[in-house]
């Protein structure tokens, strides 16, 4: 297309491709098209491109993905909110330090005041709480269970989904007559493998060791499922099933036990001491 004479029709051509052209502009463009082969070819070429490109291909996420969406979002929001509240104190502290830095005399005064305030708090708490604290201490030796990190929750969901997929593959009727179609299982396996890449990076190699080991084993089987022929791949299906049975994978996925193990590996937090008023 020659740039100069056709330049002013570029917007119209684009609008025409997507059906956005007004009737008046359409008439003008038609007149131009009768005498310009390049623009005519451009339009024909674009029909070809859009025809071949087709509609957008989006993954059909399984229903449990959508069911768990809100839960995952709420959890993320909660985590971010708690981090944000921490950073508010950090910002406040920084602001105060900057303010003090601008007034050098204020620093020793603030330090002294801080130390005195701490001493006072200690005396008050000790006075009211000391006689009860031994009993209370005995009663509250149990540590507060640490919050399960988001990656662990996602890993548990991942394991659960893998388990469902594996059960499906194991129970699918496979025979030449049954003509099984594994396209859905292949798609799900590939999604799980993609998610596993991210989880492998996020999980803690020490605390989540057992989950990671199991995930690695499962990834091999998922890779086999992802590479199945869409239909009639009977021998490969048998191979996958043998692998699942040999490694006892379905028995190994015990979500509750893994979660408990992961919790044990996270350093326990000390219980917060409650104020006398609460006690």
């Amino acid at each position: 297309m020659k740039s100069n004479p056709c330049k002013k029709y570029e917007d119209d051509l684009t609008a025409r491709v997507f059906g956005d052209l007004s009737a008046a502009d359409e008439r003008q463009l038609q007149t131009h098209l009768t005498e310009c082969g390049n623009c005519k070819n451009f339009l024909a070429g674009m029909d070809d491109v859009l025809g071949k490109l087709g509609a957008p291909q989006r993954p059909e996420m399984p229903e449990h993905f959508w069911e768990g969406y809100w839960h995952r979002l709420a959890q993320r929001l909660e985590n971010e909110e708690s981090t944000a509240s921490d950073s508010i104190f950090a910002r406040l502290w920084k602001g105060l330090r900057e303010k003090w830095a601008a007034q050098p005399l204020a620093i020793p005064f603030a330090r002294t005041a801080g130390v005195l305030a701490l001493l006072m708090c200690g005396v008050i708490i000790g006075h009211y709480w000391w006689p009860q604290s031994n009993d209370a201490g005995r009663q509250t030796t149990q540590t507060i269970p640490p919050a399960i990190p988001v990656a662990q929750t996602r890993a548990e969901q991942w394991l659960e989904r893998s388990q469902i997929l594996l059960i499906g593959v194991v129970n699918e009727e496979v025979s030449v007559a049954a003509k099984p179609d594994f396209s859905h299982q292949r798609l799900v396996s590939r999604h799980l493998l993609t998610e596993a890449q991210a989880l492998n990076r996020e999980l803690d190699p020490v605390a989540d060791r057992r989950i990671l080991q199991l995930m690695n084993q499962l990834e091999l089987v998922l890779l086999q499922i992802a590479n199945l022929e869409a239909e009639h791949d009977l021998s490969a299906v048998e191979l996958v099933r043998d692998g699942i049975a040999r490694d006892g994978l379905l028995l190994k996925i015990n979500i509750a036990e893994l979660a408990q193990h992961a919790q044990q590996n996270v350093a326990p937090k000390k219980p917060r001491q409650k104020s006398p008023d609460i006690l």
Partner: protein, 193 residues
């Protein structure tokens, strides 16, 4: 703006938790799909769509209702996707996109050619080639093309969303179309040679 939407916004602005859940349930698929169209993989699409909801949750107080709630949320997703594309290491992005692309195309037979597997494969290869060409467009061009072609948004809406003039949207879209057409021509020439 519909009355239902106005009521929902009011409830959100008063901090009603059930209103936020309602918003998420109503829009989660649309935001996820848009992020998927722009980023090409499901994991990132979930992260981005959730980030968008969190942004909405935090800034709903500033929403004055000048645009539709849906358009506003779309705009947030588009901006988050553009930022993510800028920040993310290119190599990692390409690796994951190509993996995701293979998975999708391998799993989705083209129904038009269902009767002729050879033609179906040919069409599929051509489509992959064009989708790859789409990924090579500039982030802005790809975003505009995806919003117009895949999400069927009007040019005026895209212009508002990206805060650029409608003229720029049109010229960027034209360039995107030209590049896609060139990609197809080169591909066909390669086949012949």
């Amino acid at each position: 703006m519909a009355n239902d939407e106005k009521a929902l916004i009011r409830r959100l602005q008063t901090g009603e938790a059930s209103a936020f859940r309602e918003l998420v349930e109503n829009h989660k698929r649309a935001l996820f799909n848009l992020a998927y169209d722009l980023l090409g993989n499901a994991t990132d699409a979930e992260v981005i769509s959730q980030e968008a909801f969190i942004k909405v949750y935090r800034s709903i107080g500033e929403f004055r209702g000048e645009a539709q709630l849906g358009s506003w949320m779309y705009r947030i997703v588009v901006n988050l996707c553009l930022n993510r594309r800028r920040k993310k290491a290119l190599s990692e992005m390409e690796l994951r996109e190509s993996f995701e692309e293979n998975e999708l195309h391998a799993a989705t037979p083209t129904s038009d050619h269902a009767a002729d597997p050879e033609k179906a494969t040919e069409a599929e290869i051509m489509r992959r080639h064009l989708r790859r060409a789409l990924d090579r467009l500039s982030p802005q061009q790809k975003t505009i093309f995806v919003l117009r072609h895949d999400d069927d948004l009007p040019l005026a809406e895209i212009s508002k969303m990206l805060k650029i003039s409608e003229g720029t949207v049109k010229s960027q879209l034209f360039r995107a179309l030209r590049k896609l057409q060139e990609a197809l021509v080169f591909y066909k020439a390669d086949l012949v040679s």
